[in-house]
Point group: C3
Chain length 173, copies 3
């Protein structure tokens, strides 16, 4: 896994790929409740086909950078074979998810899916991502993720071995 | 499929049904970051029981009409047997979805569902919509949908042959 | 079921447990479109393992208290074995959901899940909550939930017999 924050001018990053993300543009801060918005991309490259990555601390960093004290944060996969979801950071549960998703939407035989006639072998990844969800919306209160005790944000990869992005969008005051 | 935008005064539309939608009321534009909100309904009538319709361009039109440059857009089904979701605009995949949803939540025999004792035959549509999701929340950056390369917004109909609505709600600055 | 609104100073509530919720802090009202945010917790204790509770009227109360006329409301479970979702308030359908979720993610045998080696028996509750969803985002228009005719908000409990919370977060103007 490699992490790439938004590169303000579209430069080649140290990891060697072109980062086409747009710059982070927080609006001017003010005290009178004017609305602020903020965006940042998180980049991943998972070595295998599937993985769950805890991205909670990266989202918390975005909150600090945004200066938003109260509002909403949207965290979504920008790819249609990946998920962002909230659940427990417990390895046994993650193994249960993997087995369960494979039962509900098996990868093989790949010929069972019409989508794979396009030359892909990732139809199951589209279905698995559908069950796990594209996005989460979380509350920001007092500048922090307004979470219950066990809530953690995960990136769910179902068709890895390539660079993929998550968008963090914040709106509030 | 017929499309009906919000009718400002609740008139009978050209398609012959009563449009009870409320008017589009964007707030005054300003440059100082004050919050704006916007709403619009999209209307559908799918001839068969099930269909997936790409509504991305209609949502983009809402963005332009709203004047919002940065913020969030919520797109949700206003009916409980329909979905709004983001995935690939690839017909093979849509056929895979259809087959997969029928496996996970079969329509027949309709007597397997208690809900159908109410006189409906659409219990499976409630379950299919649950898997595909009621809504999406997407980021707006520089006045546009802040999307990955393959992200497209779909309306998923699971109990068609009647007029149904999707709500587009925009908030931002 | 017991309901507990946010306790402003963290006092022990009449139900005898410590309410650690933070106070409701709506921003000052104004007419110029400045952004407002609002939060409140709803507390539940379901006597059995699973239940669906209609929380629409409680969310509507939050809207009134917030003073927000146009915007978005996020309603999310703060626990990872519970859901918030929108569907029909029809008991037959709820029984169908129960049966269907048990088919897709059975509770027993509990030994089939690695997560249960942690001493829990609720792995299935994590999976059921995943299908039903953690959260809903709904539009607020003219101070009200901008809903279709049959949309109702439910709390879905899959591992009850303990105090659990739902967060209501409102942002708008």
């Amino acid at each position: 896994m490699r992490w790439h924050d938004a590169a303000p001018e579209g430069h080649v990053t140290s990891a060697g790929h072109i980062d086409d993300s747009r710059p982070v543009v927080p609006l001017p801060k003010s005290d009178n409740g004017s609305v602020k918005s903020f965006r940042k991309e998180l980049w991943f490259e998972v070595p295998g086909r599937r993985a769950f990555l805890n991205i909670t601390s990266e989202v918390q960093t975005c909150l600090r950078e945004s200066g938003v004290r109260g509002g909403l944060v949207l965290v979504n996969a920008m790819h249609i074979t990946a998920s962002v979801f909230i659940n427990d950071d417990e390895p046994g549960l993650h193994a249960d998810y993997e087995k369960w998703l494979e039962k509900l939407a098996p990868h093989a035989p790949t010929s069972q899916y019409l989508h794979n006639r396009t030359g892909e072998d990732n139809a199951d990844a589209h279905l698995k991502r559908t069950i796990m969800g594209r996005e989460v919306v979380a509350a920001i209160t007092n500048g922090k993720l307004d979470f219950g005790q066990w809530e953690q944000i995960f990136y769910g990869e179902f068709d890895g071995q390539r660079n993929k992005r998550v968008l963090v969008k914040i709106i509030g005051e």
